[in-house]
Symmetry: C2
Subunit: 130 residues, 2 copies
DNA sequence: CGGGATCCTCTGTGATACTG
DNA sequence: CAGTATCACAGAGGATCCCG
């Protein structure tokens, strides 16, 4: 009995929190985004530039990289620093908030690494039975 | 230094894991779903019936409830048991896998509960500055 | 280098009505 | 009660071209 339900109920019950306003959903929607968690983990070792991030996540489009970074900045997970050189230099770095978020996120990533084979197996079994 | 980047790189680097096959993305896509994590936490106290879950999450549509439950079952997070009574009775329950998933999930939910005000504040500040 | 602007596709989600 | 079927839509994400 972990008590997870009670904590969740406290939010769901409140009509005020329903859907949009629910803080849980609010946070989860960022983990959810196809690239958010990836970019946050990329910045764990220190600031990175736009092109560096693009190389780190080879299959992201420029559009999505820009958009995801702006969203993360908007929510205070990262900072964006422009150095007025020629050519321009822009660095992205984790905030304290972003860094603290990596802790619970890592728990999830570890779980995924250890259990994804079970998921695949379950899925395969489910699909053949149907 | 949490080492989260190295663990992630191990997956991203591998061409084999890119996007679809990446186990991290695979798991995160389920936490992401608008209702998945909510339903999993709901089942933490024990099995529940379809209508019970619907009452627990008032703003979910029948369609999404059905679909999300089937997806969770497919991936082995929950079981679906049909009692051939009249009227029919169907119970959903966590598997061991589903139960173990709640542990890292709770870490994220706790973080959300503690930090969502910072996110809101950062967002508001970002929007007014622009 | 670090994006912005535009157009397009596809998936997730919702509303509604119907069924064993 | 516990769903299925159909239609509709918004937004996520991608492709491409352009710019200071």
């Amino acid at each position: 009995m972990s008590g997870i339900k009670e904590k969740t109920v406290a939010y769901i019950g409140h009509p005020e929190w329903s859907s949009e306003n629910c803080p849980i959903r609010d946070v989860l929607n960022h983990v959810s985004g196809k690239w958010s968690s990836l970019l946050l983990t990329a910045l764990d070792d220190g600031p990175m530039r736009f092109a560096e991030l693009r190389r780190f996540v080879p299959d992201i489009s420029q559009r999505m990289l820009t958009k995801t970074l702006r969203d993360l900045q908007r929510d205070g997970y990262i900072t964006r620093t422009v150095f007025p050189t020629q050519p321009p230099r822009v660095e992205y770095a984790l905030t304290e908030e972003g860094r603290s978020f990596l802790i619970p996120l890592q728990g999830l990533i570890d779980w995924a690494g250890e259990n994804h084979w079970k998921i695949r197996a379950a899925r395969a079994s489910f699909d053949t039975e149907s």
